[in-house]
């Protein structure tokens, strides 16, 4: 793959993307002065870029930057309130101004679309096969049996093992990774010349993300498809695209060949984006992270705050016994962060529920701050929960939308009946200040907050009781990379200032590398490897750990290992 990539970049024209040279072949896609507005709000302003044949271009930006809107405008799939002006030329032909009737022959046949969330991109009440036939209908093939054979062949081509079973399945019977393969298959089936992929992996696990991206890259080369990739992850973009376009608030900040933009970003925003990617900056928070450890070593000594020993939990599903957590043991010294790492279904969530006492294990014991968690009723656990709090994965669903920020943060104090009214008000303001939120947000409701602000509120809510231990269940997986960086910084300074102990659950190893001290890698409910983060990351012994590490996007095409010395250099130069 690596040699293939280099070969392509070398043989292609080196001409500057933004400054057209006369007598150049017509680019496959050319966007000029594209502006998109929803009602009176302009969300994309004067976007310009070109995508050559067989090339790949990535649109990068945070949510709200307008990157998906540009993709939708090119696909002419904007919602009815959206209005696009400017010029979009596909293969030399203007397509923005023409009628839907004139554009329809291009849909699917010439321009394929791979959407963001595979779970909602297929009709839930029709079989995969029935929907695949819609894509197959675009081929000029009159015989249905032949079309079916082509569908099954395409499924095999995108790496679906049992193509026949997939064909007969309904969407809810397949996993997210399989559905994304199906969607890619349906998009490439009519052999389009342009594929628009709108965050094709943001709803998927890291390991599956890598496989899906590898598939897209391979298909792009094998079938000579041009790829317009939309992503918020600069590392992914740099790894997969020949050219980058960096967007902020609907305005292009920077554009050019990947090598130049990535190595030496000219705009401040692109530099910030690069600095925020955990994979590229493994030691960004090293100073903060290690302060905690140093204080610990000079202090009373590393007494374990959390002790989990030989915990096993089984569930019975449809008469079958499923071991969710199998002989799990780890300890976490006070003031440090322990990461639980694994794919979906590895037992991380069950481990969290056991740790919080929401679920009782079959065998084994758990204690937090010398208080036994196991074998106690919820009533008896109330006193423990004052010191043991949870920050939930998704701040878009974990906060009651009808409550104000003040009410949300204050609720735990009311529940535990702590302090006088005045003291509680004081404590709420303190907790908000700790997470860097101003008092002017007190009367807001979650809807009026950004994703990052919401997660800060969720953290403040857990801080308000002054706990010793906070369990962080993928606290940034629903957030953009740049917002994630802010949250990580908040979490680390809180740890330093308040001496908090964290259990950090994640499937994102790059993030774990940035902020955790010790790590347990979990596969099918068992710990396969554990130890200090630096040690595990530099010398992984288990193949499972290696495959997890290899799936971290590195920003370098074909590169599989981290940390890359030169990239580290670049990152610290900021």
């Amino acid at each position: 793959m690596a040699s293939h990539d280099r070969l392509t970049t070398n043989t292609l024209t080196r001409a500057e993307l933004v400054a057209p040279v006369p007598l150049r072949p017509i680019p496959l896609l050319r966007v000029n002065g594209l502006s998109v507005s929803y009602g009176p709000n302009e969300v994309v302003t004067n976007a310009e870029f070109e995508l050559g044949r067989g090339e790949s271009l990535a649109l990068i930006g945070e949510s709200g930057s307008g990157k998906s809107t540009i993709a939708r405008a090119v696909l002419r799939l904007l919602p009815s309130s959206g209005h696009a002006t400017g010029r979009v030329a596909f293969d030399g032909q203007e397509v923005l101004g023409i009628s839907e009737r004139g554009f329809r022959p291009l849909r699917g046949r010439a321009i394929g679309f791979v959407p963001q969330d595979p779970a909602h991109a297929l009709n839930p009440v029709r079989t995969i096969g029935a929907q695949a036939h819609e894509a197959a209908a675009l081929l000029d093939e009159p015989d249905r049996a032949v079309r079916k054979r082509l569908i099954l062949e395409t499924f095999a081509e995108v790496g679906l093992d049992n193509a026949r079973r997939v064909y007969d399945s309904y969407p809810h019977q397949l996993s997210g990774g399989m559905l994304q393969r199906v969607l890619i298959g349906l998009a490439i089936l009519p052999r389009p010349t342009l594929l628009v992929a709108d965050e094709p992996t943001s709803a998927l696990d890291v390991t599956i993300q890598k496989r899906i991206l590898d598939l897209l890259t391979r298909l792009q080369h094998d079938l000579k498809i041009s790829l317009l990739l939309i992503t918020h992850d600069l590392a992914i973009a740099a790894e997969r695209a020949n050219a980058l376009v960096v967007l902020k608030d609907g305005i292009i900040q920077e554009a050019g060949r990947t090598a130049s933009v990535f190595a030496a970003p000219a705009s401040a925003y692109a530099r910030k984006l690069r600095a925020d990617v955990p994979a590229l900056n493994p030691d960004r928070y090293a100073a903060l992270r290690d302060t905690g450890i140093r204080a610990l070593k000079t202090g009373a000594g590393a007494t374990p705050k959390i002790k989990v020993s030989a915990v096993t939990k089984t569930f019975t599903v449809d008469g079958k016994t499923l071991t969710a957590v199998d002989d799990l043991s780890f300890t976490v010294p006070a003031g440090t962060t322990h990461a639980l790492v694994g794919e979906s279904g590895s037992g991380k969530t069950t481990a969290v529920r056991l740790l919080l006492g929401l679920e009782q294990p079959d065998t084994g014991t758990i204690s937090v701050a010398d208080e036994q968690i196991t074998g106690r009723s919820p009533d008896e656990l109330r006193s423990v929960w004052r010191h043991l709090q949870l920050v939930y994965q998704n701040p878009f669903t974990s906060l009651d939308p009808t409550w104000t920020v003040e009410h949300l943060v204050r609720e735990p104090l009311d529940r535990f009946g702590i302090g006088t009214r005045k003291e509680r008000d004081e404590r709420v303001r303190e907790a908000l200040a700790d997470v860097g939120l101003g008092e002017h947000l007190l009367s807001r409701k979650p809807q009026a907050l950004s994703g990052g602000q919401r997660q800060r509120v969720a953290i403040a809510r857990s801080l308000v009781l002054k706990p010793d231990v906070i369990v962080l269940d993928e606290p940034t997986s629903a957030l953009d990379v740049s917002v994630q960086a802010d949250i990580v910084e908040v979490l680390l300074s809180l740890q330093v200032n308040l001496g908090l102990t964290y259990v950090f659950v994640s499937h994102d190893l790059a993030l774990v590398r940035q902020l955790a001290h010790t790590v347990s890698v979990i596969q099918r409910g068992r710990i396969v490897e554990h130890g200090a983060v630096t040690e595990i990351f530099d010398n992984p012994r288990q193949p499972y750990t290696r495959s997890l590490l290899a799936s971290i996007p590195s920003g370098v095409a074909g590169a599989a290992h981290l940390p890359h010395p030169r990239l580290r250099q670049l990152a610290t130069a900021d």
Binding site: H120, H172, G176, D318
Partner: protein, 336 residues
């Protein structure tokens, strides 16, 4: 899967039969404990001129001197075999009386049902694809308008315009094709409004789903997008509404039959109520119960066929496959 469906269907069918029998018992008991004795009232009506001995003989022959539970048992066992007894007025079997008028009502109701469905789907399609400048908003207001006009008013208006003014049908021949059609339209319009309201709300929701955009990106035209993608998921809640709307069709057909001067179940009920013809009323109530239960049974049986995500109680459950790769998206798919 097939086995699960069959065992589910068998279970639902058993439940339906139990409900019908319970309804019969309930009506019977209610009629028995009502004050007054309509049967002897009829027999003692001087116009009929029965002597006391004759009355006693008839009562004994009909088993009316038996205790209520025994009467119920006799009546129920007759009902199960399809024997609904004799009309007290005409002395003819109730089944015959119903059989005479049922086809007319069935034709009217089913025509009205088809019209309601067509109308609702057409309105639904229009609200999705009719350009705003061609009155999409007007179309969206149509169901509320239909609902707020009583169906006898619609019926009278149709008779006036198409019967008297345009002369499309003759009011004195209520069973002709055109007369039946317009009666069905009058009956179907309010029913279509209920279906259309739910259908529009669901179409709006479904057309905003990501899969609709992806399907358009696949090159599907409006018609196919509507027919293949939007209609089926949108009609899931509609199935429940339709089951309820059938009740409205039954009730509405009594009024429509009167307005259009048709003979049918409506006119039979009217006659039986005014003459206190209990066996006929008991039969009609049981018939209504049977129709309701059947329609709901059909809805229950159709639902799993329309929505593969429905878990059938009693059968093996679906489990999302975790082969190859799994992801959080799976759990989203399962829970949403």
């Amino acid at each position: 899967m097939r086995g699960a469906y069959l065992s589910y269907a068998a279970k639902r069918l058993t439940q339906a039969i139990v409900v019908i029998l319970l309804t019969y018992v309930f009506t019977f008991v209610v009629v028995s404990i009502l004050p007054g004795d309509p049967i002897t009232n009829v027999l003692r009506d001087p116009q009929n001129g029965f002597t006391e001995d004759e009355i006693k003989a008839i009562v004994a022959a009909q088993g009316l001197d038996q205790p209520i539970p025994v009467q119920l048992w006799t009546s129920l066992s007759h009902f199960v075999t399809g024997d609904l007894g004799l009309s007290m007025r005409s002395n003819r079997p109730v089944t015959t009386l119903i059989a005479e008028v049922l086809p007319s009502t069935l034709i009217l109701a089913s025509a009205a049902f088809v019209i309601a469905l067509l109308l609702a789907v057409t309105i639904g399609y229009g609200t999705q694809f009719l350009p705003k400048r061609f009155g999409q908003g007007l179309l969206r207001g149509l169901p509320s308008l239909f609902l707020s006009v009583p169906n006898f008013v619609i019926g009278l208006a149709l008779i006036h315009i198409f019967g008297f003014q345009l002369g499309l049908f003759r009011v004195i021949a209520p069973n002709s094709f055109w007369a039946t059609l317009f009666a069905a339209v009058a009956l179907g319009i309010p029913v279509s409004a209920r279906i259309a309201e739910v259908l529009i709300a669901n179409l709006d929701n479904e057309s905003e789903q990501e899969y609709a955009a992806v399907a358009r990106g696949r090159g599907l035209g409006q018609m196919r997008l509507f027919a293949k993608h939007l209609l089926k998921p949108s009609s899931l809640p509609v199935v429940t509404v339709i089951a309820l709307a059938i009740g409205e069709l039954l009730g509405g057909s009594l009024i429509t039959e009167t307005v259009f001067g048709r003979t049918g179940i409506g006119s039979l009920v009217q006659r039986s109520v005014s003459t206190q013809d209990l066996p006929v009323l008991q039969a009609v109530v049981s018939l209504a119960a049977v129709v309701f239960v059947l329609v709901n049974l059909i809805a229950d049986l159709v639902y799993p066929l329309l929505d593969p995500r429905v878990k059938l109680i009693g059968g093996p459950k679906y489990r999302p496959t975790t082969a190859d790769d799994s992801s959080t998206a799976t759990s989203q798919a399962v829970t949403s």
